[in-house]
Amino acid sequence: MFALNDVTKIYAGQPALGPVSLTFPVGRTTVLIGPSGCGKSTLLRLLVGLVKPDDGAVIFDGTPVSPSNARAVRLRTGYVIQDGGLFPHLTARGNVTLMARHLGWDHGRINARLAELAELTRFPLDGLDRFPQQLSGGQRQRVGLMRALMLNPDALLLDEPLGALDPLVRADLQTELRDVFRAVGKTVVLVTHDLGEAAYFADLVVLLRDGRILQQGSASDLWHRPADPFVTRFVQAQRGPEVRDNEP
């Protein structure tokens, strides 16, 4: 679905990402993992044209992403940014349906889709008319997810969707998210710091460091066949559940 060909992004003279070449296969979940500041969010921004590469090309569905088609790419891609990015002046319903209303969907269609999504993400219906600051952290994450899924996009980009949640809610949401991914059969790119979480979701895990890909493969590849001493350090620094070989 997405591909990066020798992409480099430079901020203030420093390469924030790249050069990186990477393919995100259709219908699969790719997890980006790596230390803070390694360029994960930058990579997601490049995919939907929110930032322009200084070198190389970003490909979506066979065509290079450019300012002229970036909006079309975004309409086919749901993106939950790192901080959720819910609009405080709109209710949960207003946030989720904003784009559909802008596109002129009729009420019936909007409401039907909203009900479907609330069911899928197990979002309480009475929460729909509350403003983001009146919702719990977990509920906000679900609203962000519903908003990204509203237009039934082909791809889903999630930047640390489960950060800052208590472990129980997080585990619940992980299960739900995985169900959602399986149910909708979309191309998913997910960013996390947590190797356990990566293992849980990923068809492919990509470990980044300082804007470069250090290793890509399954979670167990990283655990048992590290390509670099840093991979070993990164993996061992995770105090999460141990990942066994050939799992999942």
């Binding site: 921004r45 939907v48 929110l50 909006r71 079309a72 975004r74 309409l75 993106y79 940014i81 790192q82 901080d83 959720g84 990015g85 819910l86 609009f87 405080p88 002046h89 709109l90 209710t91 904003l98 784009m99 802008h102 403003f131 983001p132 600051q133 908003r147």
Partner: protein, 510 residues
């Protein structure tokens, strides 16, 4: 450096053309900006009692001549002269000394010929003289042994208070000082009525007086002899536009009936009646006309009841505030958006609106007279006031729009963009609603400033609460001042309340 200057020059060019466009918008929004062919005869008045009484007589006589007529209070001589030559007013009472020394700045052998060259006619003297003179308390003068102006040379310590106009006029303080070689340095500018109060309270020792002032007798003041003949004769005359005679010959005929009919004691008495007894100028003027020329309905007041006056001033005030504020919103919000989008333009926009804010409001108001004359053909009354208020209201709204938009957290902008919304929809559906509270706070500041500043409209005949306030100050008539000041304060409170409600409605949404 050169680059910097360059940008700024370009900016100024952009801004000055933008400025003209803005004023045009204001002109369209301001009430009564077009000049109807059949407009009433407007009689100008300076902001002091005698001038107002004479203008009231003029308006009544013009009505006697069969046309609609009203009085328009404008600031000082320059404003009236401008208004007369530009056609905002048709006629006003002036003094010959002022015409030669201040307007023509020459003493031509034939005054009417010199004025005719400018399209202005001058009538014959109305009968009385109102000379400038210097006045003191009798006891102070006796203590220091002063009886004439040349005696002042020995008393450099004297504290002087003059109206601003007298301080500037060549036939005023600068001329007297030079002519008599006077040493006094402690000179303040103040309102004429306040100067009299200050003199009586011994806060100052000397002020300028007009020889017909009611206060001279009221406070028993000494008028210093002009022993070296500095002050010229100030004979009251009508100055009117040459075309008034063509348009309304009857009106000119009526006005000229007053020539030679007002004696000095008459004028002093009328001034004193207004000043001391707080009688309405229109009533006094009407009584005089009825008695001397057998004109009109005796002395009916043109002002009506308190409730009626309040209604009129309130409506007039709102006609200044509402159009200027709406125009400012229409212009300032887009300017704020532009500033937030383009930092380079933003700096210029914020600087220019900031500079406008530092211009003293009265100066801006007077500056708007020729500008609006040029733009909409009406240099007095509401248009220049609305234009000045519009300019004053810009800054708070521009600044808050800019602050509101630039203060939106980057992640929110990013997620709006990531949804695939086009730029205008991001602005409309996300950024403006998020900035709404800040923008509203700016509008609130602008509105409250606007309500207060609009009282200055009284200086250029724009009406509103400023009229009773300024007349009240002039006559030292406190109830009359309060008749403008209290409603102005209440209106400001009401505006605050309205915005409070609007802000609450917005916050309820999040």
């Amino acid at each position: 450096m050169s680059h910097e200057t360059n940008t700024r020059n370009n900016g100024w060019r952009v801004c000055s053309s933008a400025f003209v466009a803005l004023l045009a918008i204001v002109a369209i929004l301001s009430p009564g900006c077009s000049r109807p062919a059949n407009r009433p005869v407007v009689v100008g008045a300076k902001k002091f009692t005698e001038s107002v009484i004479l203008a009231e007589m003029g308006a009544r006589l013009a009505r006697e001549g069969g046309v609609e007529s009203r009085r328009d209070d404008l600031g000082g001589t320059p404003a009236l002269w401008l208004a007369l030559t530009q056609g905002d007013i048709d006629v006003y009472p002036e003094y010959t000394g002022t015409i030669t020394r201040q307007m023509l700045k020459a003493d031509p052998p034939d005054l009417s010929e010199a004025l005719a060259a400018r399209g202005i006619r001058i009538g014959k003297p109305l009968g009385f003289r109102n000379n400038y003179a210097l006045g003191m308390r009798k006891d102070t003068a006796a203590n220091k042994g002063i009886t004439k102006i040349s005696d002042l040379r020995g008393h450099p310590e004297l504290r002087l208070g003059f109206i601003h106009e007298f301080l500037d006029r060549p036939d005023g303080w600068p001329g007297v000082k030079r002519h008599y070689d006077l040493p006094q340095a402690n000179v303040q500018g103040m309102n004429h009525t306040l100067a009299y109060r200050a003199l009586v309270e011994k806060a100052i020792d000397l002020t300028e007086v007009y020889t017909t002032d009611g206060e001279i007798a009221q406070y028993d003041l000494l008028v210093l002899a002009d022993d070296r003949n500095f002050f010229p004769a100030y004979e009251a005359v009508w100055l009117y536009r040459a075309d008034l005679g063509d348009r309304h010959p009857k009106v000119v005929e009526q006005l000229r009936r007053l020539e030679g009919r007002i004696s000095e004691p008459d004028m002093q008495r009328m001034n004193a009646t207004v000043q001391e007894e707080k009688r309405d100028e229109g009533l006094v003027a009407g009584e005089f006309l009825g008695r001397v020329l057998n004109v009109g309905d005796g002395g009916q007041s043109s002002d009506g009841s308190l409730a009626g006056r309040l209604l009129t001033t309130t409506v007039e005030h709102l006609w200044l505030v509402v159009p200027s504020l709406l125009a400012a919103l229409l212009v300032a919000v887009p300017l704020g958006i532009l500033a937030a989008r383009h930092p380079a333009i933003g700096r210029i926009v914020l600087a220019v609106t900031g500079v406008i804010q530092t211009i003293p409001s009265l100066a801006l108001l007077l500056f708007m007279i020729p500008v609006m004359m040029w733009l909409v053909g009406k240099g007095t009354g509401a248009p220049p006031a609305v234009a000045a208020l519009f300019l004053y209201s810009l800054l708070p709204i521009v600044r808050n729009t800019y602050a509101g938009l630039t203060g939106i957290p980057a992640p929110l902008k990013e997620s709006a963009e990531a949804l695939g919304l086009p730029a205008w929809a991001i602005l409309w559906r996300v950024e403006l609603p998020l900035a709404a509270r800040t923008i509203l706070a700016g509008a609130r500041t602008a509105a409250v400033i606007n309500v207060g500043t609009a009282t200055l409209g009284g200086f250029i005949g724009a009406g509103g609460y400023g009229r009773p306030i300024l007349r009240g100050i002039d006559k030292f008539d406190i109830p009359l001042m309060l008749e403008g000041a209290i409603p102005a304060a209440l209106l400001a409170l009401a505006v605050e309340g309205l915005f409070e409600l609007a802000e609450r409605a917005i916050s309820r949404r999040g």
